[in-house]
Amino acid sequence: MFSTYEITVILLTLKVAIISTLFTLPLAIWLGWVLATKNFFGKLLVEGIISIPLVAPPVVTGYLLLILLGKNGVLGQWLFQVFGIQFAFNFAALIIASVVVSLPLAVRSTKSAFELIDPDYGKASSSLGASKISTFFRVFLPMAFPGILSGAVLAFARSLGEFGATISFAGNIFGKTQTIALMVYSNMQIPGKEIQVTRLVVFSVLISLLAIIASEYLNKKKKYLIRQ
């Protein structure tokens, strides 16, 4: 059904989506929790910065990443000189781009999940002898779980479809940084590759559809679980 080239690209795309989701999730849980439960100076600014990739053109996000983490970037240059680490145009760049663009979606979902929980459950937990950390892991995290899972699904789906930031920051190198979206884009430029393009498009659409259905289902479950 799929050619070897296509399978390589599909596998790389899934690998990137899975790894970036694993990186996104703890960050999204922490940020969602902090934004839902704490009030601090500059909270709006933090929320704004996290949401930039959601509203800015993805190419702009990629460009900003390049300026920051590229070999000659503000941070990238220092990282390369001191540690010999390079982030642009490699697998790490793919992951970073994916995490950055999917983070706002995941944070929105986790934040809303934590916001739905009555903070008085924390009081009940404390009165039963639990510390704040224990309360978080035994009460708030499980109660927010469907929302967190929904955020993870959205982050995974966003990663699968990521194009602009990836092409700007990670490039379009077959076997290294070429994902499904980038392969579709490349094949669209070549006459006679329509069938390949269609196969990948159908695959992408199906995966996206499944992700959205899963996310919606989990969102409903989130409200159901919290209701006593």
Partner: protein, 391 residues
């Protein structure tokens, strides 16, 4: 013993100032909405921090601003049953009950209250594997009480435990609370808007108004001394008396109880709390409203009322709207009378009277699981729990 020494606390533009002591096994906290009852619970449990003062529980200082001492909520060893239950919705009843077990082991706290005892006492056996959303209001309340008990508290706080349950279930919860208080001997503070409900549990009341304690005494004493605060309506008073089961009359379906001074009280089993195989000597707690008692100067054979208890008028209390007699029948009964009755019977201090009570009006609050030495009523300051033998 619980003691609040000049506890001051401010929240927004509200100021709270609490000073009181209580060493009763059950203390009722009564007051209007927004008076600061829950705030007091939060300060006591460590969920809020006072601005100044001292909080002492069983000789242990929980908070002292001068010594900069503030024991955290998790280490205060106070069980808190919240008004909204706050059962963890993602956990089954059993897991809710066992929530605190992890911390008991960590804190090396002795487990004197066992899961099995709590399950049996609160009839939770059929609920263990259900989720909180599947439970009724009364069932949730029982689980919340059980969960708090299993944290092995040295004090139990109950915030409006009757708010989410209907009238019949209220009675059930009251009975469970009395059972717990007897069985585990844990002091309780109970907030309720309903004076009648509190009075079925205790007559020791801490009255809170506008963020401070305005009265702390037995309601009966407050009424007797004529210091009844506006909030306490004597008409809502519940005379509480104790009797031990003596016999059952099959023809009338009436149970006969004996009071401490061996006078008989006949009770019909309206609430179905008494079973016919009840053991002789079983202690039963009853209550009756002051306006459900009539007075007569003579004993009458030709009367349908089952109870004619002899006593003498020890006090007549008169305020702007009400007239009450305190009748000593070996235990004190507050009886509401009208001015016409007073004049007709020429009621005066020391006069012998009969208290006429319909067996149906005697409300059975709780049947204790055991045979006790009986004290008279709540009006005396003695502890009621003088156990001789238990089943």
């Amino acid at each position: 013993m619980i003691e609040f020494r000049s506890i001051k606390y401010s929240s927004g533009n509200k100021q709270f100032d609490y000073s009181f002591k209580s060493s009763c096994s059950i203390t009722g906290i009564f007051g209007p909405s927004g008076a600061g009852k829950t705030t007091m619970f939060n300060l006591l449990s460590g969920l809020s921090t006072p601005d100044s003062g001292e909080i002492i529980l069983n000789r242990v200082t929980l908070y002292d601003n001068k010594k900069k001492l503030n024991i955290s909520a998790k280490n205060r060893n106070i069980g808190y049953v919240f008004q909204e239950n706050l059962l963890f919705p993602h956990l089954t009843v059993q897991k809710n009950l066992l929530f605190s077990s992890l911390y008991l082991k960590k804190n090396k706290r002795k487990q004197s209250i066992l899961l099995q005892d709590v399950i049996e006492l609160l009839d939770l056996n059929d609920l263990l594997y259900q989720m909180p959303r599947q439970l009724s209001g009364g069932e949730k309340q029982r689980v919340a009480i059980g969960r708090a008990l299993l944290s092995q508290p040295s004090l139990l706080l109950l915030d409006e435990p009757f708010s989410s349950v209907d009238c019949s279930k209220r009675k059930q919860i009251i009975s469970y609370l009395l059972k717990i208080n007897y069985h585990f001997n844990i002091p309780m503070l109970i907030i309720s808007h309903h004076l009648e409900d509190i009075l079925k549990l205790t007559h020791q009341i801490v009255l809170i108004e506008n963020g401070s304690v305005t009265a702390n005494d037995y309601v009966f004493n407050l009424i007797k001394n004529g210091e009844t605060p506006n909030l306490i309506n004597p008409k809502k008073y519940q005379n509480t008396l104790f009797g031990s089961f003596d016999s059952f009359d099959k023809n009338d379906s009436v149970f006969t109880l004996l009071t401490a001074n061996k006078s008989q009280i006949k009770v019909s089993n309206q609430s179905k709390l008494l079973s016919k195989d009840i053991v002789k000597g079983t202690k039963i707690q009853l209550c009756i409203k002051p306006d459900d008692i009539a007075l007569s100067l003579e004993y009458s054979e030709e009367i349908s009322l089952q109870n004619q208890i002899m006593g003498s008028v020890s006090q007549i209390i008169e305020n702007e709207t009400n007239l009450f007699c305190v009748v000593n029948c070996g235990f004190d009964l507050l009886v509401e009378v009208s001015q016409v009755t007073r004049e007709k019977l020429l009621l005066h201090k020391g006069q012998s009277v009969y208290c006429l009570i319909n067996a149906k009006y005697l409300d059975i609050v709780h049947v204790y699981n055991g045979v006790f030495e009986l004290s008279n009523a709540y009006s005396t300051n003695t502890n009621q729990k003088r156990l001789i033998t238990t089943n």
